[in-house]
Subunit: 408 residues, 2 copies
């Protein structure tokens, strides 16, 4: 029997009517003959409510207790969906992380799945055609038998990990959008839904600001070659398939244009241009758990001094400044400039591996609109630029057109 | 070390402020040196909300899924209370039914506790002075590793069972009333809080309408001789101790006067007065799971026929009538009369074992007020009468005075 994993996010199970609707969707797939495992999130809003409870009761809560509290939302929806399925005549049962078990490490609050024991699920597929409804986002740390959670968006990871363990034909991620777009449709009206996208591109899209899938779930899908489909739980039509590169016949040069406003630029002016200066700057930041993204060191300009520019997440900006000021004597910079009014725009596509001139086309398109590029960084399948935040929409639309992504 | 079990009901953990308040109460007991295990209910309203979800999604839900859903409320409060305790510097951890485990039978929705494994709790009392915070109302059915729940008010039973397993010095049931009263203070203004009451009396009080403790928890306390205290979580003062008879020095004749409006009276007129008639009537009712309470068979009056009167719970009235009508040919009664406008009033006291005239005082007090007694039933420590519902308050107050229970 082909095996299908279906994952439904918080908006898809937001109330009883939607849970009944999900049950109908699952029943259709079951009627077609597949073995079905379903992963559910908590009703939308519930997990946030539980997190608020925990942070209100104590700012630095024991993460093991945090996990016990916040994992309860998925317990409710998994039970309710199992009942809704039974009510439609579909054999089903709910499974909690500890019942399967979904074994994780002990990094409470952001645990990683180590293995999923699927023998019993498989037996029930075969003997009873029973649908397995798993509470997403949660696992079990075997040593102390405590509930763990996988971190934000962890249900996507639960779904992909289960699909890998079951060697499922596909992992369908039902959400409130109908697929992965070439850009954010709220900003770029001519953005198109992609039929297919490679793991590598999806990973870059997720890292560069597209919120449709959790980065870690894409990494896992890529590693285990799980075919993932992102689709709408409210419309009955195909979504976007996230697949291996060789499943995509005609590969566009660029598949998507993303942006991230969660950026802040730091410039240290006139630091001594000698070996070890980068280590001296970024060592203390790493120790303070600041994630540094783009880095540019200017060509040495004046008598052995240079400027160092880099970006950090907005949330880390104050911490970054205080770390750098604390180390000012040692770093010997003349001035520290911080600018949160920046946005990172990226073009992403595996096609650029085999084509030159992709970055050049980006620089030209931005230059034509008079947009100044502050920092550039590239990877094998991505070019990112940092620009002033006020140009974000213009840049996105211009690049979308420049790479021929606009819908007809 | 003395060991104390403390149980907090839904109103005691209704919001974060109250959970913090509970943490303070637990900390005081912990500071005094006792080993502490706490049982918590769900925040008030949460379990009802979850039950509504289940019954909305399917009227006849799989009780295993029902249990998975409705047990989640206690999971939240146990985690939150553990965090609140840690925040006060008290070592604590939460425990779910499956983690202990609290082993139950497989009667999902109203499971019975078979054993509680307390070795690990004891080890943590000794080594870390850690407070154990247990999610009440839930257990684990070992065969299929499914969550079970204990039925309405099951957290009281969880607490008493845990106190028995830990051989605790006392089981304190914190609730929204400050103890057990001689009668309902909303009806009898001169009702008094009892300092002590025997298990037997408490059991009769719970069965006869007093809602302060779940009947099953009292049965369990009596069986294992667990000293139970009912007290308020909002006022810092002693409550009512439920103890063995020999712990009560001066035993009143009557300890309490209770009432239950959840009664309906059925009279079958002119049934054949021959052997087996009672079995013919009550057999089909038992098969239909109707719980028959008081039964009176009149003395045979007219040519081999008699009247049969009995009471059932109001909720069972329609079912009772339809069962009796279905069997009308066989039972051969002339007429079926049903009256839901009745109330059962009971006086309860172990003192009546050794004193005659207790029932007589009741009949006299009611007669003086012109209240007609429709049915009488007695047990070793209880006299119950069925009267017209409109006399309930008058009867309660008169009996309270007649047995010398009024406060000064």
């Amino acid at each position: 029997m082909p095996c299908l994993v279906m994952k439904f996010g918080g908006t898809s199970v937001a109330d009883l009517a939607r849970i009944r609707n999900v049950a109908q969707t699952v029943k259709r797939a079951h009627d077609e003959g597949a073995d079905i495992a379903v992963i559910v999130s908590a009703m939308s809003g519930v997990t946030n409510q539980l997190i608020d409870y925990v942070s209100d009761i104590a700012p630095l809560a024991d993460l093991r207790e945090y996990d016990a509290v916040v994992s309860s939302g998925e317990q409710v929806t998994s039970g309710l969906l199992a009942i809704a399925l039974q009510n439609l005549g579909v054999p089903a049962r709910s499974w909690l992380g500890w019942q399967i078990p979904v074994v994780t490490d002990d990094a409470h609050g952001s645990a990683r799945i180590q293995r999923i024991d699927v023998d019993e699920l498989r037996r029930r597929f075969e003997e009873e055609r029973q649908v397995a409804v798993l509470a997403g986002f949660q696992g079990l740390e075997l040593g102390r038998k405590r509930i763990t959670t996988l971190g934000r968006g962890g249900s996507d990871t639960s779904a992909v990990a289960l699909a890998a363990a079951l060697e499922a034909e596909r992992c369908d991620i039902y959400t409130d959008v109908d697929g992965v777009y070439t850009s954010d449709p709220r900003i770029v009206p001519r953005a198109r839904k992609l039929d297919r996208i490679t793991y590598e591109e999806m990973l870059e899209m997720a890292s560069q600001g597209a919120k449709v899938l959790q980065t870690r779930s894409v990494e896992m899908a890529m590693k285990h070659r799980v075919r993932v489909q992102v689709l709408s739980s409210f419309e009955d039509k195909p979504g976007t398939l996230v697949v291996d590169e060789d499943e995509i016949v005609e590969q566009a040069l660029v598949s998507g244009v993303t942006y991230s406003r969660d950026e802040a630029k730091i410039t240290l002016q006139s630091v001594p241009d000698r070996p070890g200066v980068a280590a001296a700057i970024f060592g203390p930041l790493a120790d303070a758990a600041v994630n540094v993204d783009m880095i540019v060191q200017n060509i040495s300009a004046e008598n052995g001094h240079t400027d160092m520019t880099f970006t950090v997440g907005n949330a880390d900006l104050q911490r970054t400044i205080s770390v750098l000021e604390k180390n000012r004597d040692q770093l010997a910079y003349r001035e520290l400039k911080a600018d949160p009014n920046v946005v990172k725009v990226s073009v992403i596509g595996v096609g650029m591996r085999s084509h030159a001139g992709v970055a050049q086309r980006m620089f030209q398109a931005l230059a034509e609109k008079g947009i100044n590029i502050q920092v550039i960084s590239t990877s094998e399948i991505k070019v990112s630029v940092l620009i002033a935040a006020e140009y974000a929409e213009l840049a996105l639309r211009s690049l979308h057109t420049a790479y021929g992504l606009d819908s007809a």
